[in-house]
Every structure is written in structure tokens, then in C-alpha cells.
Amino acid sequence: MTEFLSFATPGLPYGCVFALLGIGLVLTYQTSGVFNLAFGAQAYASALVFYECVAHGWPKPAAFVVSVVVLAPVLGLLMDRGLYRFVRTKPVLVKLVAALGMLIAIPAVFEIVFPAGNLYSPPSLFLSPSVVYFHIVGDPINGIELSTVVLTLLVVLLLSVMFHFTQIGLRMRAMAESPRMVELAGVDADSVGMASWMLSSLLAGLAGVMLAPVFGDLQALNFTTLLVAAIAAAAAGSLSSLPYTFLGGLLLGIVGELLSGYLPSGQVLSSGLRPGLPFVVLLLLLLFLPGLRRRWTKVNDPLAGVDPPPAPLVSASRDRSLRRRSRIGAGALVALFVVSSLTWVSPSWVFNLSQALALAIIFLSLVLLTGMSGQISLCQATFAGVGAFTAGQLAAHFNVSVLAGIVVAAVVAGAIGALVALPALRLGGLALALATLAFGLLADNIGFQYSWSGNGQSGISIPRPSLGPINFSDGRAYFCLIVVILAICILVVSAIRRGTTGRQLAALRGSELAAASIGINPTRAKVLVFSVSAAIAGVGGAVYGSLELGASANDFNTLLSLVFVVVVATVGVYTVDGAVGAGLAYVVLNVALSGNLTLRWSNLLEVIFGLGAVVYALHPEGAVEYVKRLTLERFTRRGIETEVLA
């Protein structure tokens, strides 16, 4: 009993925080239709500001008021008014990218404002974490356990009073449980939405400040991954029941600590399972909770209207001669680019450009998946990792040439992609995104830790390929090879777009029901494209790993997957040039910013792409299409003018 308790009680702070964040997720999802992946980032922001205030000698109550009572709701309100309210009727992808942009931008912005570097041992709110206050059946209860439990109980008490007795609370609860009914009853959804954003953000801020002392140092990553547990909690409540969400969160926290207590230590599975538990639970819930499945397939988005059709691509509206001219122009540009890289460009920039093109291959997988088929994957970096590790392990253990390894990498990544997609696809957009997120995090924590795959932090080495007499260890030679591989991948994607599969996907995007009514098997088409997309990501990962001569689990972590989605969406997810542009933009900005800026401003890249995501949410065509449209308009206007003159 004492042993059980001593394992269970350290889970209480986690459980309370999962529960509070989960409640926030459910509230805002139901009242505004946005699944706010940024709550973890908001928790981090409040924790950071609390830390800074206390470090500057403020009394803790004042720091608490500023960081939690004021900052957190204001942040939530800003996000709702400035961004989320504009996307509530947009497709799932758009909402998700908007939330991901916030997830990436918020920590970066706060780290620019408070550039303190490593922040060790964050202060506790009111009880000391190292002091034992009393024992329950012999189990010591320390300050953080006591304070989180007391605070959470207090919050739950206040919430239930609010949900049962105040008008706005009743409306929020009603809306969480049945949004349509409330709208029919004539309640102003906007004001209820605002109130629930502020409340949920307050909960997130409180959770952040409460939990901070549990971590040795204050890092954004600790908080953003909390969110998956919160999602699992929300899933346990079928995304609508607040009490079940609360219970789910609490249990998840406690069971996680129990596992780490009882499982034998020192093995990958047991050390990975505790942090991996929320993802396992989330995956299982998504796949096997029938109520959840029904809810997710029926009311995929409580407030979403009909998806507006995507604007036709600029290339569709260009006339023949203009198209030919732009094709010649693009060809010349590519030739110039390649020739320059082979001659006067410095070796370090050849390396950078190689990186950009290797990334472009990975980004291309998103153009295929998201742009063409409207699906969302938050684990493309994981598939890239699968590719890289496959090629590396084959080279190390079976002496397989890396070029052959890349082909095998595509097959393995494609097969794993199909396995991930097959069960998750029935659930539709948001659930697929969450399932892939859980899968990616599981790979980070467990899959890539084994020595036979990614070998954890230490990683594995991946040699450069060679082909007969040609050895690609020379930078320029490998650059050429990457150009060729990228070109092949581009051909694959365009061939799919022009072929039967591409037209089937276009039809499915338009109306799945009608597509099925003419004999298209929706699941087959989607699994197929998901698998091909994973394969392309695998190729990109293998190429990238070989360029770097090695890769570790860190190089392909899930946070990177999120960044990838945001970057590609910002630059252009509908066209092949979007992927190439995204690769170039990502690397060039990275080099420019990290080379010339102090640590403080190195976060600027994240801010830029975070804001890019916001722009994307408001104008989903992406930067590349936008520029093309502008030039097309210029050209056609000039054409009309010349006609008039003649």
C-alpha cells in the first residue's frame, strides 16, 4: 500500500495539469470549433513570466496575478479575436495550421522578450516542493503535490459553481455538450466563445505555473508535449464531457507514474513507456472508443460550414503561350541554379542548398498528402526518420549500398505509413492528425530509441552513396544526386496528380459521398496516397541523413513534423514549387538568422513561420501561389494594354 501510494502521488501534479488542460481543450473546441494545440505553449508562457517576475524580486502573489490572472486570459482573448474566430468555419487543416503556428510562435516570442537562456529550478507557487508537509499511510506528501491538489480542487469547485449557477457558465456547458442546440436557442456564440477562451487560457496558465517546479528547468518542449496527455484526457471525455475529461487526465497522470514505479528500469520500453503512455492511450482511445469515433465522424467540427472550394491554381488560368513562357523561365532558373551550385557557389553553401533540396523532398510528401488529398499528417518527420535509419542500418549491418538503401527506405516508410493510416483514416481529418501526432511522439520516445533503429540521442552514422566509379562523398557530386532524386520525386507527384489517382483524390475532396457513388473506394485511395507520401518522406529522410553522414532520434522529432506542416502550408501546399520554395526558405532563413543573430533573436525563425501560419489561415493559397497570382495579373493586364494600343 505504501509502495503503491509512493508511486502514485508523484503523478498527482501531472494528473491535475492534464485534467485542467483537457477541460480547456474541450471548452474551446466545442465553443469555437478550434482544437487549440497551443495550450501547452500558453502554459509555458505563464510559467516563464512567473519565473521572471519572481526572479526580479516581485512577491509571488503579484507575480501570480500578472502571469496567470492577467496574462493568460489576455493571451487567449488575443488569439480568439485576432485569429481563431476568423477560421472557425474553415477546413480542419486550416484550423490546425493556425493552432500549430501559435504553438510554435508563442514560446519563441516570449523567449525573445525574456532572453534568459537556461532557467533552472523554477519557483513554486506557494509551497516548497522539497518540503514534506505530512504523511498519508506512511507516504510523504511534498509541497508541489499538496499545492497542485489543493489548487485544482479549488478550481474544480469554482468551475462547478460557475457551470451550474452562472448564466455564462450554463451557456458554456450547454455549448460544450451540444453547440447546435445552443445556437438554435439564440445564444450569442461569439461572447460565449470569448469567455471560454479566456477561461481555458486561465486554466492553462495556472497549470503551467503549478507544474513548472516539477521540471528541473523551464523549457518550452516540456510544456508542449503535455498537451498530448491533455488531448488524451479530452478524448476520454469524447471531446464533450467535462467530468470524464477531468477524470481521464487525473488517471493518466497517476498511471504514468505507477508505470514508471513498477516497470523494471533501464530498458528502452520501460523508460519510454511512461512519457509514451499518453500517446498510447490516445491512439487506443481513437481507435477503440466507439462513442468517440461516432462523434468524430458525425460532428467533425461543431461549427464548421461547408468547406469552400480551394481557389483554382494559377497555372490553371494561364493561357498556353504564358504557360510556355513560364515553363521556359522556370527551366532556365533551375539550370542557372544547378550550374551555379556546381561552379562558383562556396562548398558551405552547396551544403546548405543540398539540405534545402533534401528537405524539399520531405516537403513534397506534404504537397501530395495535404495539398492533393486534403489529409493532415503530423508525423512526416517520423517517416523521414524511418527512411534515414533504414538506409543507415542496412549500410551498417548488411553492407547495402545507400542508393539501394534509399529504395528500401521508401518501401519501409510506405508500409509503416499504410499501417498508421489504415485504422486512423476512418476517423477523418482531426482524428487522423491527432493519431499521427501520437504515433510520432511514440516513435520519439520508444521506436527511435532502440539501437537497431535510431539509437536515441547518440544516433547512427549513414554513409554517402556511391554508384560504380562515382563516389558521392564530394559535396557537389552529392548535390547533383539530390537534384536527380528530387526531380524523380517531383515527377512521381505530378504523375499522380495527372493520373487516375489524382482525379480520384480531387473528386474525394469535392464530395466523398458522390465519389463513392461512382465507384471510388475512398479508404483505398486515401491509404494509397498516405503510403506514397510516407515513402517520399522516407526517401527525403534517407537523403538528408546521408548528407549529414548520420542522424539521431532528435533530428526527426515530432516537433519538427509540426514545423514542417507550418512551413509548407505557409509557402504553398498545393504545388510542387511550394515544396521546393519551402525547403529553400527554411534553410536560407535558418542560416541567415542563426549565423548573424545572437541567441536571443535566433527564435525569430519560429516567430516568422508562426506568423506565416496565421497568414496561411487567413489566405490558404500560400506565398508561392500568391506571388504567381500577382505576376499573372500583371502579365495579363499588360497583355490587355498592348492589345488596346494595337
Binding site: D307, P309, P310, P312, V492, A495, I496, R498, G499, T500, T501, G502, R503, Q504, A506, A507, R509, G510, S511, L513, A514, A515, A516, S517, I518, G519, I520, N521, P522, L528, V532
Partner: protein, 253 residues
């Protein structure tokens, strides 16, 4: 079994609403049957049960002698069912032509990923010719290249009809094809359907409020009210029956 389509004792409830209650009907090979009844009678729900959009609570649907059970929509389409939708279901973002091209490719059922990858997935000449033919039959040539969003409701219905027809179904389920069409367009639709049926044997189940169109196309009608079959037979005779008059009067009152 005699009929191409046999609906045997199908029931379907939505919460407290009994949308279909022990409905049985039959459509023979090459026969056109009208399905009429007031709004909310369960006509669309019956179509959904037949085409696989929903699974009936009780009862069975047989098609060409095969029990369909829980067969998904696309499998039923491949067996030879085509349908249109009361609330238009068009492929947003595609042109009229592309609607027909997708469907024509599905009829041939020879699209494969590896063919796409070899660059052999484009539209072929024979396909293009069939699409042209269908466009002409339906009078849609002038809008062939237009995006679907630019079309009127009536034209949209014709595109849905063409998309179903180009697959050469043996059973065509039409859900209120004339709503949104003016009287001239409705007459044109009737002649398109009749010409089609004169050319090759195709069974039609037609849900329609415009009794003139029903009269022009269907050999007999089945009347549905509150999810039950209240009458069936030739249109003129059925309309004389008190139960039918009551159903319609009840609806118009």
C-alpha cells in the same frame, strides 16, 4: 428472383422518428418506377438504404439477386447502381467535363497507381469521346469547361445525372431531378430519360414531386407516407385512392 432491385421489409429509425417502416418494393429489369409521397415520407432514406449510404435497421436489399447486406456505397456502384442526390453532391473545384471524366474512368475500372506513375493515367481518346457524347446528350457542351461553382442548380442536377449515366448503370436512382429546373428543362429531362431507355435497358427508380415528369417516365408508382408504402400501381389509378389523397392533402394543409 424476378426483380433487378428488391427491397424486402426495410425499416429505419432516426432516434424517435421512424423514417421507413417495413417497406418492400421491386423494380424489374428495364422498368421505371416512380416513388412519390409528401416531404419527410422517407423517400431519400430509402435511396440511402438502397445505395448503401445508411444501413437499414431491419430488412434486406437485393440487387440482381444478390443480398447487399452492409456492402459499402462504392461496391454497389460497381455492381451497377447509379444515383443522384436531392442535395447536390458535386466535386467542388472540378469542371463539368472533369466530373464526367472521373466517372468514365471508374466505369473502365482500369486506373492503377503504377499506370499513373508511368504517365499512362491521362484521359484517353475513347474516354474523351464518350464524355463529349454524354455532354451533348444532356445539353451541357456549352458549360463543359466551367467550374462547377459557376453552374445553376438545374445544370448541376444534369451534371449529377451525366456523372451517374456515363457509368452505364443498370439501375438509376434519381432523387428529385426536376427541382430547380424550369418547365422547359423538365420536359427536356423527360425526353433525355426516355431516349436513354429506348436505347438500352435501364431500370429507373424516380423520386419526384412533378407528377407530369413521373407520368412521362414511370410505368407505375409506389406511394410512401410516414415511412410506409400506402399504395402502388399506375399513376392515374393510384391518385384516385383515398389513402393517397389523404397523404397529399395532409401534406398540403
Amino acid at each position: 428472383m424476378s426483380g433487378l432491385l428488391e427491397v424486402a421489409g426495410v425499416s429505419k429509425r432516426f432516434g424517435g422518428v421512424s423514417a421507413l417502416n417495413d417497406v418492400s418494393l421491386e423494380v424489374a429489369e428495364a422498368e421505371a418506377v416512380g416513388l412519390i409521397g409528401p416531404n419527410g415520407a422517407g423517400k431519400t432514406t430509402l435511396f440511402d438504404c438502397v445505395s448503401g449510404v445508411t444501413v437499414p435497421d431491419r430488412g434486406d436489399v437485393f440487387f440482381g439477386g444478390r443480398r447487399l447486406g452492409r456492402a459499402p456505397i462504392y461496391k454497389r456502384a460497381r455492381l451497377g447502381m447509379g444515383r443522384t442526390f436531392q442535395r447536390l453532391e458535386l466535386f467542388a473545384g472540378l469542371t463539368v467535363r472533369e466530373h464526367l471524366e472521373v466517372s468514365e474512368r471508374e466505369r473502365r475500372a482500369d486506373g492503377r497507381l503504377w499506370k499513373d506513375l508511368l504517365g499512362r493515367g491521362g484521359i484517353r481518346l475513347e474516354e474523351s469521346e464518350r464524355v463529349d457524347e454524354t455532354l451533348k446528350e444532356l445539353g451541357l457542351e456549352s458549360v463543359a469547361g466551367s467550374p462547377i461553382e459557376a453552374l445553376s442548380l438545374g445544370q448541376g442536377r444534369l451534371v449529377e445525372l451525366g456523372r451517374a449515366l456515363i457509368r452505364e448503370p443498370s439501375l438509376l436512382l434519381l432523387d428529385e431531378p426536376s427541382s430547380g429546373l424550369d418547365s422547359r428543362e423538365t420536359a427536356a429531362l423527360a425526353s433525355v430519360l426516355n431516349e436513354l431507355r429506348a436505347r438500352r435497358p435501364i431500370s429507373v427508380l424516380l423520386v419526384e414531386h412533378d407528377l407530369e415528369l413521373v407520368h412521362a417516365v414511370a410505368e407505375r408508382v409506389v406511394v410512401l407516407d410516414f415511412g410506409r408504402v400506402v399504395s402502388s400501381g399506375p399513376l392515374a389509378a393510384v391518385l384516385q385512392e383515398p389513402a393517397v389523397q389523404e397523404a397529399y392533402l395532409g401534406a398540403t394543409l
